[in-house]
Amino acid sequence: MANAKEKGIIEISNLTKYYDGFLAVNKLSLSVKKGEIFGFLGPNGAGKTSTIKILVGLAKPSSGTATIDKLDVVKEIVEIKRTVGVVTEDSNLYDELSVADNLDFVGQIYGVSRIERKNAINGLLKRLGLEDKRDVKFAKLSKGMKRKVTIAAALVHKPKILFLDEPTTGLDVLSARILRAMIKELNRQGVTVFLTTHYIEEAEQLCDNIAIIVNGKIRATGTPKGLMSKSKTKNLEDAFIEITGLKEEKMLIDKGGNGSG
């Protein structure tokens, strides 16, 4: 286990991002250890996706710094992208291409050789139960299937770090379970995972460490158990509600539930 002073594989310091005057990320600092599954939780609009966008080179920070594997996310982003896999919140592949052609194209632009691409695509389609869909156009797939193919696309080049932005949204129970098992397996193989999810049980089940972000600022970090103990709650969902300040909304829901029952 890494000691406290050891530098993380992802280091973020005072990261700030404005979009047309709107403060999306506010002096955010955190560290993700190599080989862990890190949960990045927060309510809608908290700044999770904005932070990921900066880390993977889709946006530039307004100020602050971030490094991945000691490489600067602004100056050395092309090198970073070689080792990083990203599943964005949208299933963004090409409708006109088949599942296999989409994955092959992604492998091509990542510089994966033809043989490695073939092996990786066959392996991923098998693991995700998509073998019979390989020649189906992306447009013809269901939402859940599209999600699976998008996840496969992030893995074609065998990344060392995987960013997953709401990966199980739109997946059925079984597919979500398969994906969670896959995330754990990838992690056992040494892949560091940076995960955002709205499913708190998913974070509790998968994550070694969690950061909770509200209005672009980190409210709390720690292990799932540590966060529960800090907030004096019995489960991570209650800890999340306590930390994010959504307590009043929860009380209203509880009250409504009691009233109707």
Partner: protein
């Protein structure tokens, strides 16, 4: 640009050709529009085919290279598939070069169709074939980069079509496609000199018939290359600015 960047750009171009360019609506813009325009003029003056051929070929490149190019990036930004390219280990320059390359290949192929069609109807000097091909490629490059710039600059597909047509349609009548620039009223000519299509038509005319109307082929080549470089780096700048 290193080997991986060049390969990445090449694969982006191949993907664009497959998904966007070789589709019926785009083929109709690339082929049908110049044919219809040419027919309108040829039917009026049947003997003028050799006069019209360079302009028709250049116009086919303009429409073929820009018809998809001007909307591809806007469309991919809307569907978020452009993020897929930006996530790859390629520089902004490489991604945009890939986009440009798709338009260049399609524009060049379309111009070959019109070149062969012209050759069947008139006597063409094939002595300068290498230079003729080079002039077609330079024309495809400048128009494809123009399409890329439009696509990067605007936010909506409708705006892309409006902006592209704002330049494309005046160019047809101002740049020597149907009426030689030298035959135009003097007050219009300075406007003609501003548009790259003028130099494209003149260059193709020179290598097709041995005579030029506007300027020396070297000057035309320099102007086309300069336009391509300026528009390409403007597109890179706009895209980088959007990420800030």
């Amino acid at each position: 640009m290193d080997k991986q960047s060049l390969m990445g750009a090449f694969y982006i171009a191949l993907k664009d050709l497959k998904t966007y360019y070789f589709k019926p609506p785009n083929l109709s813009w690339g082929i049908m529009f110049p044919i219809v325009m040419a027919l309108a003029f040829v039917l009026r003056n049947p003997g003028e085919i050799s006069e019209l051929a360079p302009g028709i070929i250049a116009m086919s490149i303009l429409f073929a290279s820009t018809s998809a190019e001007a909307i591809v990036i806007v469309f991919e930004r809307r569907t978020k598939t452009f993020d897929r390219l930006m996530l790859a280990p390629l520089s902004v320059e490489s991604v945009l070069f890939g986009k440009v390359l798709g338009g260049v290949i399609f524009g060049f192929l379309m111009s070959c169709v019109f070149l062969l069609g012209s050759a069947a109807l008139m006597s063409v000097s094939w002595e300068n074939l290498a230079f003729l091909i080079l002039s077609l490629l330079m024309s495809a490059l400048v128009f494809s980069v123009f399409g890329t710039f439009v696509s990067v600059y605007v936010k909506e597909i409708f705006d892309a079509m409006t902006l592209a047509n704002f330049f494309r349609f005046p160019m047809i009548f101002l740049c020597g496609v149907f009426i030689p620039v030298s035959a135009m009223p003097a007050f219009i000519r300075p406007l003609s000199y501003l548009f790259p299509l003028t130099y494209s038509v003149d260059l193709i005319r020179f290598f097709l018939t041995g005579a030029h109307d506007v300027t020396d082929p070297l000057v035309s080549s320099i102007v086309l290359i300069a336009y391509s470089i300026i528009l390409f780096y403007s597109s890179v700048w706009v895209l980088k600015k959007r990420m800030e």
